[in-house]
Structures are given as C-alpha cells and as structure tokens.
C-alpha cells in the first residue's frame, strides 16, 4: 500500500510518502494508525491523537473504521483549510 502525508503530519514524520505491505493484523484505518504509532518518535506523536487527523482511502474521505487492502492509497492529514 501507499501511504501519503500532508501538512504538519508530513512535517512531523519527515516524509510525504512511503510504501508498505499491509501489516499482519491490520484490517482497518484505526489498526494502521495503531501500527504506525508503535514505530515511536514522530509517528507516536502524530498517531497518538487520531481525533486531530483525517484520512482518505483511494482519494475518498473515509472514517477510521474503513477496511483496507494491500493495494490502497491511504492519506493522513489534518482537517482541511482551503478556500
């Protein structure tokens, strides 16, 4: 799967994109956030407060209960501030 990060999420993680095989035991966005938080450092900081994050799977806004597959593009970002 491809993971994309935007805004301060990108800055705290120090990367805008990474490729990852769907980890064992991860079936939803919430599971993936837990998996990433366990990496520690910036990941722990970002994914410890998922209420501050929004997520899109394959470029559609979804909730943290969305089910993931290995071919998905998953993006984490703060609430949007355009316009």
């Amino acid at each position: 799967m491809t993971l994309l990060y935007f805004s301060w999420v990108r800055q705290k993680l120090g990367t805008s994109q990474e490729t990852l095989a769907l980890p064992a035991g991860v079936s939803t966005v919430a599971d993936l956030a837990d998996f990433l938080r366990a990496r520690g450092g910036g990941y722990e900081e970002v994914f410890s407060a998922p209420s501050r994050l929004r997520v899109a799977v394959n470029q559609d806004h979804v909730g943290f209960d969305a089910v993931l597959s290995d071919r998905d593009e998953v993006a984490f970002f703060p609430p949007v501030t355009g316009g």
Partner: protein, 149 residues
C-alpha cells in the same frame, strides 16, 4: 454542463472568467466569489499545499452535487497553490444559471464545501515564524446548512 476546474500556481483573470461563464445560451445570471489573502496580524505570506488528484476529484464531486440540486448552465472553480502574499487572489468560484437564486445558492454551496472537504492546507508566515492554519468550526457549520434533510 462541462465545469472548469483548475488548480494552479499562477493568478487568474476574474473578468475573463466571468466573460466565459456568460457566453452560454440561456444564461441570465452569473454569481461569483473571489477569495483573497487577508492582510492580518503581520501576516507576510500563506503557502497552500494540496493533495493532487484527490483535490480535482473532490471538487468534481461537489460540482456534480451542485448540478443535481440547481439548474446550472456553467461553473468554474479555480484554486491557487504555492506561496501567496496578502492581497493576492486565492480562489474563484463562478456559477451561471438562468436565474439569480440558483446561481447565488450554488456559489455559496460550492464555497462552503470547498472550505470543509477539498484537501488544501494553509501555512501562515509571520516574519520567520510559520504555523499551520487550524480548521474552523464556523466553516463546518456553514457547510452543514446544505445537508439535505
């Protein structure tokens, strides 16, 4: 309707956009909104980041929804990205219809959804200090009023 969607670094020409929206047969009303970088609290610049492809898809979804709800003849949404300074134009929404109510309402609807759903993020610069703009609850409630009961 074939809407025009553009995510671009450069400025846009409001008069030319209104002219283009006015050309369609049966057009009786064109409503537009132009957003500018507000010169506030010592702001030196805003940098707009976006999620390429999702941005265009999300805007196209909102335009399709507007077309379903109002009798639109043409629509244009332009959003700039990159670094902008106070007074510069950021966003343009223009809607053509036969009558004013549809064009006013669709223009507000599109702007409210752009603010709460389209994946853009603003980072402010005040001198050397940079900070990400926080989403506003007032923008969420502005979008909420369009929810169909």
């Amino acid at each position: 309707m074939s809407p025009r969607i553009s995510i671009q670094h450069g400025d846009f020409d409001v008069a030319a956009e209104i002219e283009a929206l006015s050309r369609h047969a049966n057009t009786g009303a064109v409503a537009t909104f132009t957003g500018l970088v507000r010169p506030e609290d010592g702001l030196t610049a805003l940098t707009l980041e976006h999620y390429p492809n999702m941005t265009e898809r999300e805007i196209a979804r909102h335009l399709a929804e507007a077309e379903r709800r109002w009798p639109l003849l043409a629509a244009t949404i332009i959003h700039r990205v990159g670094r902008l300074t106070p007074g510069e134009r950021i966003v343009f929404v223009g809607v053509a219809s036969s009558h004013r109510a549809a064009s006013f309402e669709a223009c507000q609807f599109l702007m409210d959804y752009l603010k709460t759903r389209a994946p853009f993020w603003k980072e402010e610069e005040r001198g050397q200090a940079k900070s990400w703009v926080e989403a506003k609850a007032s923008d969420d409630s502005a979008a909420e009023r369009w929810r169909e009961k």
